[in-house]
Subunit: 205 residues, 2 copies
């Protein structure tokens, strides 16, 4: 039972952990509130419903993550010497850094699960709140890949998204070996993802 922080914060922390471990449906509010050391009804009082709680778990992390992505994008967007790999790096690296924090790795599992589950209301929430991030990246991809039609570009970005989501979910084969430092492993992972995605985006060019 976690007794540090406010009731809301304790619920959010317990929810992130439990959602990552058991999924959104698998995590019951009774278990969750018990872990957080709060009353069952506190979830509905503070968040309105389990679904809204899920959204807040996302917002807490994604606001930071996407701000970092846009800051990284701003450093390379529109520059004449920018390579495709630089844009992919701006998108991938913040997510991977988050996934290697203590509790961040749990969150990346939650995030990948959410993208994957195709829950319409959750996707709508993500699209409404963070769609502008994807649009900015798409515009820069379009600048660097002028030979692709709009349809082809959307298609390939969609495939890249699928690959990245899958890889970041933690269920891939990416595993750090004991003789490789955390930092080195992360750099290798970024390099792997970036190389694959860049080649796919450039296919046939």
């Amino acid at each position: 039972m976690n007794r540090s922080g406010s009731t809301k914060e304790r619920i959010l922390a317990a929810a992130e952990t439990l959602f990552a471990q058991r999924g959104f449906d698998g995590a019951s509010l009774r278990q969750l509130t018990s872990d957080a050391g709060v009353n069952l009804a506190a979830v509905n009082y503070h968040f309105g419903s389990k679904e809204k709680l899920v959204e807040q778990v996302f917002r807490r992390r994604l606001d930071t993550l996407n701000a970092q992505r846009l800051a990284a994008l701003a450093r390379v967007a529109g520059q004449p010497e920018t390579r495709l790999e630089d844009v992919l790096d701006a998108f991938i690296r913040p997510a991977l850094e988050l996934s290697h924090e203590d509790s961040g790795s749990l969150f990346m599992r939650v995030l990948a699960r959410a993208f994957a589950e195709h829950d319409d209301s959750l996707r709508k929430f993500l699209s409404e709140n963070y769609g502008h991030v994807m649009r900015q990246f798409t515009a820069e991809f379009a600048r660097l890949l002028p030979q692709l039609s709009k349809e082809e570009l959307y298609w390939r970005i969609d495939l890249v998204t699928g690959a990245l989501t899958h890889a970041m979910s933690g269920f891939g084969m990416i595993q750090r070996k004991s003789d490789v430092s955390e930092r080195t492993h992360r750099e290798q992972t970024v390099a792997h993802l970036t190389r694959f995605a860049a080649a796919g985006l450039r296919a046939g060019a």
Copy 2:
């Protein structure tokens, strides 16, 4: 209410439809058995549990799908003139053909959802029953990409799997235009997926 076929078959058909529409947790056995025109308890009598019913919904389609994949692979595996694109085609085309059948498209959504949800028991079932298919394809990829280390090959196949799963789930941007025939659209989709995946697999080669 569907009244054709045996009780088991009516349950399986109703389950495939409802799982695709609402997900595994979102589809209640009460709704499902009502749609099938059978008693609530019939699911547990015929299948043992909701989870086993899910497995049978998969087995009914995957046995055929993976047999087609292996047959297509056998036609190109080990041949000196085989290209990477031929192997990818053998993997992708059967899935896309299934996804364009009347009820098959529903199943592809169910399948993508299952891969995505990271449900451990379901993944274990899929791995135990169809892992040999992935192993045969991996062996052929290894033959055609000898410059890749084992680790790199597994990595890239994992990324390809993520991209394809995402695309086939029906939530991508793939939409047939009214002036394109169903068959033409499918061919375009296969071509798109194959080109992207082949470029990603060959990256840096």
